[in-house]
Amino acid sequence: MSDTAVKTKYALEIEDLQLAYLVRGIPREVLRGVNLHVRPGEAYGLVGESGCGKSTTAYAALRYLPSNGRITGGRILVGGDDVTKMSDKELRLFRAHQASMVYQDPGGALNPTVKIGRQVVEAFTVLGHDRRDSEQEALDALRRVRIADPTRVMQRFPHQLSGGMQQRVVIAMALACNPQLLVLDEPTTGLDATVEAEVLDLVRALRHETDAAILLIAHNLGVIRSMCDRVGVMYAGKLVEEGDAVEVFEQPKHPYTIGLLECLPRHGVRKTQRALYTIPGTLPQIGTPLPTCVFVDRCALADETCRTVVPPVVDVNENSPANRHISRCHHIDRLNQMPEPPEAEVEAVLEGKIVIQMNDLSKTFRQHGNDVPALVGIQLGLGDGETVGLVGESGSGKTTLAKAMLGIYEPDAGSEIKLDEHLLAGKAANRPPEDMRAMQMVFQNPDSALNRTWTVRRILKRTVKKLTGITGEAADTRLETLADALRLSPRHLDMRPRQLSGGLKQRVAIARAFAGDPRVVVCDEPTSALDVSVQAAILNLLSDLQSSESTSYLFISHDLGVVRYLADRIVVMYLGRLQEEGTTDQIFNGPHHPYTEALLSAVPSVDGEPSERIRLSGEIPSPANPPSGCVFHTRCHRFMEGLCDVEEPPVVEIEMGHRIRCHLATTGELAAEPVVAV
């Protein structure tokens, strides 16, 4: 084995890996022969829908498998050593010295009761280092991940650090053993775009300092593109395409990759131009026999050959062996015949009649005897059939605004919410049924939004009854119309939420929101828990529903691409205050509020990097103690001392409908270039 260790030029080699989970005693195939090779210092990205086997592959590389996971064939070599053949002791040593893993949730990866210092020191002492050396090494490790004041950070407990800082600490610990293989499993998924950008910058910088092979899993294709040298596209436990990251994303050669990329709202496409592409069907269950092409059931190009003959592995760059780009497809020459998504039938809505008008909306929470102003003087109107996108980091008050509007939180005295010119009661419970049915909400997480002990039918029927007062057979008819509009088939109606896939659950949640013909629906990140293909279907559905029902949306999202696709107008919030407001084009084309500029430039895009990157330092301040003057001045890259920290900036309407709260707006010195191409 030491022989191969010398000869191999790869840090990680996975060869024909087959893996099955035992479910009720029956082995079900999860990985159907995965081949991938990562060189030292190379970053390799794995993409694919949930359930395609990408995490399983990554966990298998460290042989972290659930007790019912069985490697049924193939081998995994890390630095030439076969991980599948190691004894328990060898495996433990291997995991301690040669491989590390960084998980999605840094809060969960750190022990909440132990100070950061001890945890980082421990990462070195387990390697057998001397206690005193370890302390010095821990300090260096934290410095290495760009933590400015490591001595102080070491004295803290994990909960006293922000998500971004926590993830840095976790990365520092992962790098402690100077691993040959570093597996990053959705390392930035729970983080804000601004924090994500910070963490990604760090990983990028660290790559040049170590020669670890990096295996990165992310559902965000933009993250993969900006981080990885090569990328593998996985479907049903098989790599269907693999090659240079830029090349794969620019010139995809497999129908599945093309589908994934087309699902994303890109190149500034809007709902008024065309519907989003969707991949029909869903991923096959694990264990389903797929003798020929794994993607055949969902492929638009599939023909008889695909069903009967195993597709060949085609190297698109045959002539340059150094730059392999493979695809498992019979029809690489027919890829241009992939169907185009339909033209949109959605009309742009402009100057609609105002449905909801919020005037001077404020919400102050009481916390431990202190006043925490979460919303301050919000002035916002929603037109008939209009979509207003609401963006900002977490903690900026987006959800609070939505919930105050809905009456889930009672706004402060003096706030005014008008529906069709009549004043609404502050609390939802005090609103009459017709006001209640006018405003509904679609939540971020459908698992939490649907009662898991109720059937879909009961959920919808109850809502129809409460909101419209229709009962009996009429309610059943209404229920069927509703289910039909949401493309839920009758058999779904008698299921309980856990029997439905994520996309179907979200459809039920949307159906519920539309049960009473609402005027306004709040969508709170409705697609952030979903795969891109499902996201596209949901976005199409939302935009169809809107044009047929002429409903207004208040659409909260941190995905600027999605907001750009769907929104007619965009509102940018920071610390409970509106910072910028304008039509989608105005917001994306500039001039920008400095905060908007930073938000836009933080987004990793599948279409390459923005020309200029603005990094927000630090994190959003506590609303209990907002900064003086302009609340954004503590993080602003265009901060002007003596003005911004003293005087609150006025709201300036720089063009029709485009309002900015910034001192620069008064002088016309705002950045005017479009920042990003989402």
């Binding site: 035992l22 009720r24 949930s50 359930g51 995490s55 949730d105 998924t189 909400m441 939490s448 299921m495």
Partner: protein, 320 residues
């Protein structure tokens, strides 16, 4: 989502699996083949129920617990019809050590200990489950109110619960029975009152986390009343928690009833109740007569252990 059970492979591996589960990624797909052409939904649900039963029946703890409890139920129902001799009437020489004919010996009055242990199951098997049932009903009601309404309702009831919990159980029980006399009804009521705060706390915690979920918000957004949200929306979702708590409470109720009888504040002579028997005979242990005390004591222990085994198994099966 059906997740491969991450047990057995050591804590580290379990953590990894959890991380994968938390990532919502890849572990294993949906519970049912939604894509499938023919999809037998009822079959699916039946299968889930069967699966849970199978999980339960595979646990030796569950089988043992149920067998012990069934044995005592048979004894309690059968009463003096199935005991070898009359548990209340002295019918042989007193204080015989265990031997053929008197497998557990006889007590100081010459009554067969085995017969008394068997017949003693009856009172405790009526009193303990009833007390536990009452406490779970009251506790669930209070817990729902506190967890759902929070605010001052929670504040006041929480203080009340704390007051009740801070009084020593035995003192409280003796106070009540001394005031109201010691009939079975009073014993049931006493144990129920003692256990209600404990159940309340468990239910409240479950409701608090459940009420955070968006379906509750959604119910409010369609104008549901509090009572509906509590009983129809939240209650079904916390039923597993309540069920486990209920089983545990039955075990403790057996124990508490026995303690009360032992102190003379519970079931009264000449009942062959176990606690009472222990209390009547423990003074004889120094004289070498251990059998009239030991066997009833073991009987109490067996019921407590058995209900706990069952509770643990149910909990594990529901978590899987």
């Amino acid at each position: 989502m059906q997740v491969p059970p991450p047990d057995a492979d050591g804590a580290a591996a379990a953590v990894e699996v959890d991380a994968a589960v938390a990532a919502g990624d890849d572990v294993i797909g949906e519970a049912g083949p939604i894509t499938g052409l023919a999809y037998d939904m009822r079959g699916e649900r039946r299968q889930a129920a069967r699966e849970r039963r199978r999980l339960l029946l595979r646990r030796p703890g569950f089988i043992i617990g149920v067998l012990i409890i069934l044995t005592w139920i048979v004894c309690g129902v059968g009463g003096d019809k199935i005991t070898p001799s009359d548990p209340l009437v002295p019918n042989d020489t007193s204080s015989l050590s265990p031997r053929a004919g008197h497998l557990m010996g006889t007590d100081q009055l010459g009554r067969d200990v085995l017969s008394r242990v068997m017949a003693g199951a009856r009172d405790v098997l009526i009193v303990a489950p009833l007390a536990a049932t009452l406490s779970v009903i009251a506790g669930a009601f209070l817990g729902l109110l506190m967890g759902y309404y929070r605010g001052w309702v929670d504040e006041i009831l929480s203080r009340l619960v704390e007051v009740l919990l801070s009084i020593p159980v035995i003192l409280m029980a003796l106070l009540i029975t001394a005031t109201l006399g010691s009939s079975k009804i009073v014993v049931i009521g006493t144990v129920a009152v003692l256990f209600t705060p404990i159940v309340t706390r468990t239910v409240r915690a479950a409701v608090l986390s459940e009420a955070q979920l968006d379906y509750v918000t959604s119910a409010r957004l369609r104008g549901e009343k509090g009572l509906f949200v509590m009983t129809r929306e939240i209650l079904p979702n916390i039923t597993p928690t309540i069920l486990v708590e209920y089983t545990v409470r039955i075990g403790y109720a057996v124990f508490t009833v026995a303690t009360l009888s032992f102190l003379g504040a519970g079931i009264q002579p000449p009942s062959p109740d176990w606690g009472l028997a222990v209390s009547d005979t423990y003074a004889l242990i120094p004289a070498g007569q251990w059998w009239p005390t030991l066997f009833p004591a073991l009987a109490i222990a067996s019921v407590v252990v058995a209900t706990n085994l069952v509770a643990d198994s149910i909990e594990a099966a529901l978590a899987a």
